[in-house]
């Protein structure tokens, strides 16, 4: 039995499947809401790293980041609802794996920033330009979150046909 087939028969998956009629639309609506929160807040921070809004200290813009984490949390939970209730439809879709890969890139990028540059960012004063390394972090984050959005929105159109063996 494949992992997808096993997951599809777990009590959790069966419970989600039985509520799919209202649960799926609700989670989709929340998934788009979380997306706006995540991209809006993280995008503003990325723009600061890239050198926009120099008058504002990086650390001050970073105070909003818990809201981006909330957006990500909403999307992780609602995303898991989709995957656990219909695992095969995602696992067999290469575009879904592209999405997952870019989420991993975004995650690693954020962790690298936090551990390698966090202390340096706190020392940046208003008006200071960001070093090149910060600009790279900001650009990678911005590009990879939009890649996540692109792959997520395109996965019913691009990979689904491949996954279904067409």
């Amino acid at each position: 039995m494949t992992f997808a087939a096993w997951l599809h028969h777990t009590p959790l998956s069966l419970a989600l499947q039985s509520q799919v009629q209202w649960l799926w639309p609700l989670c989709e609506g929340l998934h788009f809401t979380g997306l706006a929160l995540l991209v809006g807040v993280a995008g503003m921070f990325d723009l600061r790293l890239l050198g926009f809004m120099k008058r504002v200290p990086v650390a001050v813009v970073q105070e909003f980041m818990p809201w981006a984490v909330l957006g990500f949390g909403i999307n992780l939970v609602t995303g898991l609802v989709f995957v656990v209730s219909e695992p095969a439809q995602y696992f067999s879709n290469p575009t879904w794996w592209v999405k997952v890969a870019f989420i991993v890139v975004s995650g690693i990028n954020a962790v690298v920033y936090q551990f390698a540059f966090g202390a340096r960012a706190a020392r940046l004063a208003p008006g200071d330009d960001t070093p090149m390394s910060f600009k790279v972090i900001g650009a990678v984050s911005l590009v990879s979150w939009f890649a996540v959005l692109w792959a997520g929105r395109m996965l019913p159109f691009i990979g689904a046909a491949i996954g279904a063996g067409l």
């Binding site: 639309p25 989709e28 609506g29 929340l30 788009f32 809401t33 997306l35 706006a36 929160l37 995540l38 991209v39 809006g40 807040v41 995008g43 503003m44 809004m53 008058r55 504002v56 001050v60 813009v61 105070e63 909003f64 809201w67 939009f146 959005l149 692109w150 929105r153 395109m154 019913p156 159109f157 691009i158």
Partner: protein, 173 residues
């Protein structure tokens, strides 16, 4: 498509005919049935990019007005409106394409009109917020006026409501 329970009246019928003609136009048919990912899927994807550009920056401003990240000078968030209007232009144009191509189906969905109403109200709230906070009568460095907090809550509720109504268009016919 789209079963109608009652025969349309004298006013409604011509409107429905227009919607149907839009949906049946060679442009709409080509746009919807094109196998290219650069047609319908890309327009739909751009509609989501625009959504993020409108609602994301708005949410940042609203959260700031409600007390989040209060060390951030409000004046720095004036630029939020620039990003928002670019996002809105993307979504008005992609939204128009998506509507025209399925005019008879979407134009008869009540949830679509709920979405449009929520967007109209949210835009009104955004303009009022801009006037109140950045309009000159209030110094952005002063404490946030209570009225701006009311507008911020309304903005969050209306934009998130618009997103959910838009998503429900795939389900409520």
């Amino acid at each position: 498509m789209g079963a109608r329970p009652r025969p349309p009246g004298r006013v409604v019928k011509p409107l429905l005919d227009i919607l149907q003609r839009l949906q049946d136009s060679s442009f709409s048919v080509a746009f919807v049935s094109s196998p290219s990912i650069w047609a319908y899927p890309t327009v739909l994807m751009l509609h989501t990019v625009g959504l993020a550009m409108v609602v994301g920056p708005n949410a940042v401003l609203d959260l700031r007005l409600l007390g989040a990240g209060s060390r951030l000078p409000l004046a720095a968030l004036r630029q939020v409106f620039g990003v928002m209007w670019i996002g809105f232009a993307i979504n008005a144009s992609t939204g128009l394409l998506l509507f025209v191509s399925e005019a008879a189906d979407k134009g008869t969905q009540w949830i679509f009109f709920v979405k449009l109403l929520l967007i109209a109200l949210a835009l009104t709230v955004a303009v009022l917020t801009k006037r109140l906070v950045f309009g000159g009568e209030t110094d952005p460095s002063h404490p946030v006026p209570p009225r701006a907090k009311v507008l911020a809550v309304a903005s969050l509720v209306l934009w998130f409501g618009a997103i959910i109504a838009g998503r429900l268009m795939a389900y409520l016919h």
